[in-house]
Symmetry: D2
Subunit: 245 residues, 4 copies
């Protein structure tokens, strides 16, 4: 592997999408800074990437704390220039309106929107002096459409999309590529599989084409990273070929 | 005036749009519950409405406090059935990304989105047992487009729009009309006039057709209220005829 | 009835929406010029409006012929100033892609889009010298979303929406209100009832709240007509309260 | 070069975008079938591709004639399986509404929308039996927004987008990737350069970052082609990093 003098930060390096992104960018020679609420859960990912010759630093981080995000990104940037920053924290919940507590509404926003704003702003602060960089946000169908039961989640995802748009318009002309990836499908995780089984019955998983493989999300981020600055995409929607939309 | 046995709550009854809405619904016989951060500033509005024979109750209220919103709407509903609830709190700010503090980002969200969620949910809680009601949210261009400098404001307005959508889809079939009014123009207020003069120079106000009169916003809300349930509008965009879009 | 010195032209005055619009504007004192492919079918509508004291002129017209549209609108305008022009021709068809013939694709476009362009342009030509007027287009869900089987119909409806947008932006500052009404539901017609029964079985019509009454569409057009020029709506979406969206 | 047993058809292989697409896919080993209104103008492109070892067949074709499109695509498919079909005919015109003749409106639609429908349908007819293929449409800002003077062009581009959507929803589950590429910028062509100079004066071209290089459009199509079927993009927007949006 040819190492790059560059870091990729992944805020929200969970078991699925975030881990796939970390693996992809590590395999391309980036030093990956991976953050998770409980950093000890990163051990398998760290092990796997290092076994493959990749470089990764795992961290515990409460992304709702401004100073922790700032420190995390500064550490990444001190190791090697922060070239890519991916914000990937989800907080998918569904409650009937009257059962959506103020606590849930606030917490989902703090995780899925507020933390994204802090991440993007601090990444921009590090990238602007160098006049280059990439800041990517993981969006979802709920960022485009407020469905029943999604007052909290959709509100946060809509809010994150607005942050991404405002950043893209301000930072694009300064050579920082801001993008918002809309995953318009369920991602293939154990949790999604269980929910589908519960909701739709035993046949729910018969069609493997309806779930999005985490590696395909990572591949999409890699495509965004490779785009020439003369043809950047801000919003990229992806869905499996069998998905209804 | 023929009085109705019904209240209209206006959360965000400032000097302009909110006051116009209060006046319109009071003139149609509703008892208006008007809320403002500093309730004493409501005195002129209360005076004007009462002078015209209307009924209005003014209150101080911090809309970011769940228990205050709950109490306010319950008081309104105890006076007469809460038939219309308008959430009209704005929080228009513009800062370059790096100068958007976490405090501003959070406060704008609390005022323009979180308070709207609380308002809508509590209004729904009172309306659902009766199987009727109207919950209206004041939106803005920034709820559709995240422009430069609007990371905080657009994020909150996008988030409010998502709340409104999720509520409309859940509550519509239960005969509660949820609508989101997009004012795609500057509203004719002293503050907007000053900003335009500063930004565009002395001629900025020469074209009176580019600012939205508060009374026209109130008229739009009245149109929404009058729609038969067989033809409800969720999202209503309005702009002055001379506005570019 | 108080008559107005003004005409309302309805291009596409079929049995349902178009007829309801004609009745509404006639009842408000307009002289209505109603056009239908086969003008003799207008007899019942003419009879009903005249029995109610209204004024209406029915005409046969092939809306795909430029000279016929021009003559029709000129005749209306010669009778009394053309104040409102409603384009309401539908052409809802659904075919699998491979079975969508070039003939169908072209004909649907000619009826639902091309005729709308001609109508709008000729109405504008008559209204511009007077500096006032209203040009309204009936849109549909298919104007926002190209669903399976709707290559022809959605393409025409998307195209009509673009025409309406371009006209609204150009004519609005000249005091001509151009609007696009999106009926996001099936309209309550015999044809729609039959299709629903065929597609969904005997219970398909049990919920009366899912079909849009033609009179409610007419009421929406009347709301658009009444808007002050300081708060015009370009795009108005309406759906019955029980509709899923 | 490693040749593939596959053809790429380019309908609208003009001097800029279309030629760049042809060159890219030829360089990747496809046999390219390039179509242009006046096929003799393809000579330089054919020469360039063949000089580089690529394979290309140039043809004259009136894309508004169903039988010519059918024959062209059948010829391509008879040479090697039609794997990629790109519809790239533009027809950008701008006229004030009253000066938009019915002839212009119809012709622009025939070139930019109707021909796209025919192309997509005939490509699908060839691809469906094999259960694979890619059908790509070149869109534009005008496909999303009907600006002043664009009644004809935007209407055609909106219509094309609807065709693409309906096709994508029907054909996606059958393993045919339908995509709509939105080029949200002027493309760097002599014609666009001249128009900008005329409209904006001598400095109009000082910022090279505002025009989209044709090769970048081709690169975007190549990215779409490479997407795994588990993460397809339907709509891909691209713009140069310096573009305002």
């Amino acid at each position: 592997m040819e190492y790059r003098n560059a870091t990729t930060a992944v805020i929200g390096a969970g078991d699925f999408i975030g881990a796939a992104i970390a693996k992809k960018f590590a395999s391309e020679g980036f030093t990956v800074f991976a953050r998770r609420r409980h950093g000890d859960k990163l051990a398998p990912l760290v092990g796997e990437i290092e076994a493959g010759g990749g470089r990764i630093v795992g961290r515990s981080l409460d992304a709702r704390k401004e100073e922790e995000i700032t420190a995390f990104l500064q550490d990444a940037d001190a190791t090697a220039p922060l070239e890519v920053c991916v914000f990937n924290i989800g907080a998918n919940v569904n409650f009937p309106l009257l059962e959506t507590t103020e606590r849930v509404f606030r917490k989902v926003w703090e995780m899925a929107c507020y933390a994204g704003f802090l991440t993007g702003r601090e990444a921009a602060r590090l990238m602007l002096p160098r006049g280059r960089g990439n800041i990517f946000f993981t969006g979802a169908t709920a960022g485009m459409r407020g469905g029943i039961g999604y007052a909290a989640f959709a509100s946060a995802k809509f809010g994150l999309r607005a942050v991404a748009q405002a950043m893209a318009r301000e930072l694009g002309p300064k050579n920082i590529h801001v993008a918002h990836l809309i995953i318009d499908a369920g991602v293939d995780t154990e949790w999604v599989r269980q929910r589908r089984l519960e909701a739709l019955g035993p046949g729910a998983l018969d069609n493997p084409d309806l779930l999005m493989p985490p590696a395909s999300v990572a591949a999409s981020y890699w495509q965004l990273y490779q785009q020439p600055k003369s043809a950047w995409t801000f919003e990229l929607e992806i869905r499996p070929f069998g998905e209804k939309w």
